[in-house]
Amino acid sequence: MPATKRNPRHGGIEMARATEKVKWYPGFREITLACFFILYAPLIIVMIYSFNASQSITIWGGFSLHWYEKVFYGVEAAKFKTATVNSLIIAVMAAIVSTVIATAAALAMVRGKAFKGKSLTFGLINLPLMVPEIVTAVATLIFFSVIGFDRGLLSILLAHIVFCIPFAYLPISARLQGISSIYEQAGRDLYATPGQTFRLILFPLMVPGILSGFLLAFIISLDDFIITNFVKGAGVETLPTAIFGAVKQGIKPNIMAISTLMLTVSIVLVSISYLISRMGRQE
């Protein structure tokens, strides 16, 4: 088939080929390749250089896990370890809380009848996506300062919960919209109370959406830099703020090793989320 695409003057007898011809545009394939190259080249180069044995960070000196050893046992290991633990605690808590809130909201928004203020509520749930991160960061910082709230892990957690809600909400509500309400009706028809209908039918069917919502919220929290940077107290670091601080001193190879680790975590989580949602669709 690619041969036909390359040479549109050739063939064109078969229907399929004719359709392909209409769809085809010269150069789009090359631009796509360029696009993927741009997206992935910096990440792949950083991954490769994180295994560089050389002290100089750009000259290749052979394969080594030296920098990973540095990450776990080097001078800065303790700092990054604390930051990682902080990040994980916050991400897990923020993801759990925001997923619960988003699930409740999705149930009401998707399954509830129209009510006054429904579109306003929809706007409210998506507000954290619309307000630029830097504005959210400033507003939250001022808010905590005005009410005299101690800045630390808790303030970071609270801020994260807010902007994780829409990310958790998206896949959960999408999943819920895909579940025909006829299943709930069948449940009610077969003597299940509303509570039982939720527990025995709707919830099991929603699980893929809830899991991918949880994972996305987790990644979003784990990755956040701007808001965290504003609302964290002095001396409290998460992994992104610690990395940012270190990068300000210059890019050292251990940063590349940490980045590679974080990249891997993100890719694994996104893959899991992707597989879960695909499993959900197949059922």
Partner: protein, 365 residues
């Protein structure tokens, strides 16, 4: 006196849209008998599904009452009604096995594990799917899913089983086989079935009684024969089978008879069992198979209806033809293909049309 299973009492359903509220049911009232295969038949939008959902408890009633064996169930939630539904798209729970689907209602009713197991097995046996108990719904064919949906709804032994166009998703062969199976299961279980369909053939084949609905009203209730042979009005005559409907004027004669005149003046002596208001516009109905067509003989009787064959369509067992009498009267007729007449008819030919007088019906407007 037959026992009444469901009493539909002056039910009104209005969907309150902001600008133009939609009335789905206008004061519908009728009874469904115990142990009856009852069908709600009508085109889409006639209110039949709304009525079914009201009986099941999925829709609130604007006014009126649903009584189940005498008890008012109008305000009960779906799970409190001893009524089960076979949904159009089956609605088998995709995360549960076939057996768990069938057992679902039994468990909610608080039956013991042994009872549930025995009843589930019996139900799977009834639909001849014992060996499929551990499959998931998506591993079954459409026909199998249909039967599981039926077993699931029958398992709790509901007082009334509601079926919402359950055969519409099946292909023709399977649909015909399922008709017989459904009817057999209804007789076997003795449960009252309320069946919703827009397929008149399905309704005629399966039902004890049919309610023909349109525009949120019941047009006629009766046995399949009754509905087909004695349609009460235009809508029923047109919706069930094919019909020739002709405007007439009537004049009463002695002995309960009256004479009606077609628009072209042809008179037809007709026996009528109810009073006729001759001042009102009237019409008569006759089915195509009750017209007999033959080429015009040498000397047609004066009173005979003469027309011209417009076109013929070959339909296998018979041939359908349009016969034009004049500008106002055009008739649809059917001729069996084993008769000698069939080969003799051609477009453009003059034919004599004889009506089977016993099959002519007066229609209300």
């Amino acid at each position: 006196m037959t026992k009444i299973a469901l009493h539909i009492d002056h039910i009104v359903k209005v969907y309150p849209h902001r600008h133009h509220p939609v009335t789905a049911l206008k004061e519908v009232s009728f009874d469904i008998h115990d142990n009856e295969f009852f069908t709600l038949l009508g085109p889409s939008g006639c209110g039949k599904t709304t009525l079914l959902r009201i009986i099941a408890g999925f829709e609130e009633i604007t006014a009126g009452q649903v009584r189940l064996y005498g008890d008012d169930i109008s305000t009960l939630a779906p799970h409190q009604r001893p009524v089960n539904t076979v949904f159009q798209q089956y609605a088998l729970f995709p995360h549960l096995t076939v057996a768990d689907n069938v057992a679902f209602g039994l468990k909610r009713l608080g039956q013991s594990a042994d009872e549930v197991k025995a009843r589930t097995a019996a139900m799977l046996d009834l639909i001849q799917m014992t060996e499929y108990g551990q499959r998931k719904p998506h591993e079954l064919s459409g026909g199998q899913q249909q039967r599981v949906a039926l077993a699931r709804a029958l398992a709790p032994a509901p007082k009334v089983l509601l079926l919402d166009e359950p055969l519409s998703a099946l292909d023709l062969k399977l649909r015909q086989a399922m008709r017989e199976e459904l009817k057999a299961i209804q007789k076997q279980t003795g449960i009252t079935f309320v069946f919703v369909t827009h397929d008149q053939e399905e309704a005629l084949a399966m039902s004890d009684r049919i309610a023909v609905m349109s525009n949120g009203e019941v047009q006629q209730i009766g046995s399949p024969q009754d509905i087909y042979n004695n349609p009460r009005n235009h809508f029923v005559a047109n919706f069930i089978g094919e019909a020739n409907i002709l405007d007439v004027t009537a004049e009463p004669m002695r002995g309960g008879k009256c004479r009606v005149k077609l628009a072209n003046g042809t008179a037809i002596p007709l026996e009528i069992d109810h009073a006729i208001d001759a001042a009102k516009p009237l019409s008569i109905m006759i089915r195509p198979e009750h017209l007999s067509i033959k080429p015009v003989g040498k000397k047609p009787p004066k009173s005979a209806l003469i027309g011209t064959v417009q076109d013929l369509s070959y339909l296998g067992t018979d041939t359908q033809l349009h016969v034009r009498v004049d500008d106002r009267i055009s008739l649809l007729a059917r001729v069996q293909n084993d008769t000698s007449v069939e080969g003799a008819l051609k477009p453009g030919q003059s034919v004599q049309i004889d009506m089977n007088l016993n099959a002519i019906r007066m229609l209300d407007h």
